[in-house]
């Protein structure tokens, strides 16, 4: 569906994208993961034809983005990092303008607009000025804009950035719904977001490809060892000694203490015997009568993930 080969983009003396190649298959949701400034947006801009690559090629449905731009662009709906909205238009006027711009046929346009408005749930604000909409609604109008012309491929650049948790969940739901009959590329700097919606992940850092993997394989690699954080009330030394003896626990470290409330970090090996190590830890604490105040798994930072994936220490 999308074929990217040896993509390079150089800005002055900075190489923003350095020899990235991957393909996106029909119907899949590909996550594009990397920290800020990794070259995610640049790559997306090149795929959509907003920027040109210094070298390398992008083929969309067999059409080269530089040689047959019109054909290639017709297959793509793009939501840039900042949604390209005209604040002086109402939502409906704006979407009609996009229809004109993309050359959508007049027949059936009303039905298409109505279904898109319903799909991204902005029917009730259709007559309002875009300038007066909240950020979440603006983002949805941006997605609606990308959906116009019913493109087979959707490219969404950090679609949930700057939204509140409820809105993020809504947008994710929407993306999952859209993924049913479309190919989607989605960028993010949050691992859990990519895990929540994508089939496959491309991880880049400093313009270079770090890994391409399915979500399951990636999760296994990352979760080979995992960290847990626990807060409890009780004697720190006794607890640490006790927990270190629990089967599967590698090491226990004291992170912070306040009066007799302590916070520890528990490193564990992957559970081979199929019993969640958290059950054992809890039981051990409960048996000794030390109240657990907080217990959660620690999310790996992107940096740690890169280190794990590249095998560096």
């Amino acid at each position: 569906m999308i074929e990217i080969r040896d993509l390079v983009k150089v800005y002055g003396d900075k190489t923003a994208v350095d020899g990235i190649s991957f393909t996106v298959n029909k119907g899949e949701v590909l996550g594009f993961l990397g920290p800020n400034g990794a070259g995610k947006s640049t790559t997306m801009n090149i795929i959509t034809g907003y920027l040109s690559s210094t070298s390398g090629s992008v083929k969309v449905n067999g059409h080269d983005i530089l040689e047959e731009p019109a054909e290639a662009k017709k297959c793509i709906g793009y939501l840039p990092e900042i949604p390209p909205l005209y604040p002086d238009m109402t939502v409906l006027e704006y979407l009609k303008f996009i229809c004109d711009l993309k050359g959508v046929a007049k027949e059936g346009r009303k039905e298409m607009l109505a279904s898109i408005l319903a799909m991204v749930r902005i029917t009730d604000v259709a007559e309002r000025l875009i300038a007066n909409l909240s950020k979440g609604y603006k983002q949805r109008v941006g997605i609606a804009q990308a959906l116009i012309g019913n493109p087979e491929i959707l490219i969404l650049d950090e679609p949930t950035v700057g939204l509140d948790p409820n809105q993020i969940i809504e947008i994710r739901k929407m993306i999952k719904h859209l993924a049913k009959d479309r190919t989607i590329i989605l960028s993010s700097h949050i691992l859990s977001e990519v895990q929540a919606v994508c089939d496959r992940v491309v991880i880049i850092n400093n313009g270079k490809l770090v890994a391409i993997d399915t979500i399951n394989d990636l999760s296994n690699k990352i979760n080979g060892t995992s960290k847990l954080i626990m807060c409890f009330k009780g004697p720190a030394e006794d607890v640490i000694r006790n927990l270190t003896n629990v089967a599967g626990v590698d090491s226990v470290e004291l992170v912070a203490s306040e009066d007799d409330i302590h916070k520890i970090e528990i490193n564990s090996e992957n559970d081979d015997d199929g019993i969640d190590i958290r059950t054992r830890l809890f039981n051990s604490m409960a048996m000794a009568g030390w109240p657990v105040l907080e217990f959660r798994s620690k999310e790996l930072s992107l940096e740690e993930i890169f280190l794990k994936l590249t095998g560096e220490k």
Partner: protein
């Protein structure tokens, strides 16, 4: 092209820009007309010619936002990533600004109707100035569009356009100044040229510079003498700047920094 044209034209009247320009132009043209009307002799050609000196204010205001605003809002992405060509986008915006000029000119048409109704003179010379007005408008708008494409600040775009139009309006003044300067240099102790010979050279220089002046080129129109070559000059000038704008936008894709 039509989509962009429609959007830009409508957006003129969704912001104060369209109304401000409209009010300004209507006031100035109305003032001129009433002045002539009350004095008893109406010369529409001279009203239209005088109105041309306000291009320098109206055009920068009309064109400053056309591309600068898109870049600032990030809406230029739409033009780069949708199947319409960039040239169509430039032409659409150009036509929107040009059409706004037509809307402004409605007031002058009203004056012409009033003049005709009062048995005043509306002759080929008057129509000639009307034609010239729109060709000059096209020329100046093309400069404004180009200025708007090179920056993402509306203010800078407006200033560049203002200076550009001012320079063109002053070409005939410059040509005289430059030729006088050359005459002084040629006749000075440095070259010791005879005044006759120097005079010939300087007049050549003057006419060479003046060749670029769209105003003196189209002077004859107000006498009812229509010269296609002058109109072609304005058109090719506008086409050149439209092309430059297109190249400028296209180049952004290949930006290196």
């Amino acid at each position: 092209m039509i989509a962009v044209f429609k959007r830009e034209l409508i957006s003129y009247f969704k912001s104060p820009v369209g109304y401000v320009v409209l009010a300004f132009f209507f006031f100035i043209s109305g003032f001129m007309f009433v002045n002539q009307f009350s004095s008893g002799s109406i010369n529409m050609a001279s009203e239209i010619i005088n109105l041309r000196s306000f291009f320098v204010i109206i055009v920068p205001v009309m064109t400053m936002g056309l591309f600068a605003d898109d870049r600032k809002r990030g809406t230029d992405v739409l033009y780069y990533t949708s199947p319409v060509g960039l040239l169509n986008v430039v032409l659409g915006k150009f036509l929107a600004a040009f059409f706004l000029q037509f809307i402004l000119f409605i007031n002058v048409f009203v004056h012409m109707i009033l003049t005709a109704a009062c048995k005043g003179v509306i002759d080929s010379g008057t129509w000639g100035t009307v034609i010239v007005y729109f060709f000059l408008a096209a020329l100046f708008i093309s400069i404004g569009i180009f200025a708007s494409s090179i920056t993402d600040s509306q203010i800078v775009a407006a200033i560049v356009t203002f200076v550009g139009i001012l320079l063109i309006q002053l070409i005939s003044v410059f040509s005289t100044m430059v030729s006088k300067l050359f005459a002084a240099i040629l006749m000075s102790s440095l070259f010791r040229m005879e005044s006759e010979k120097a005079g010939v050279i300087c007049s050549r220089i003057e006419s060479a510079i003046r060749w670029f002046d769209p105003f003196s080129k189209t002077n004859d129109f107000s006498y009812g003498i229509f010269k296609v070559s002058s109109l072609l000059y304005c058109l090719s000038f506008a086409a050149f700047f439209i092309f430059l704008t297109y190249r400028k936008l296209e180049k952004k894709r290949w930006a290196k920094g």
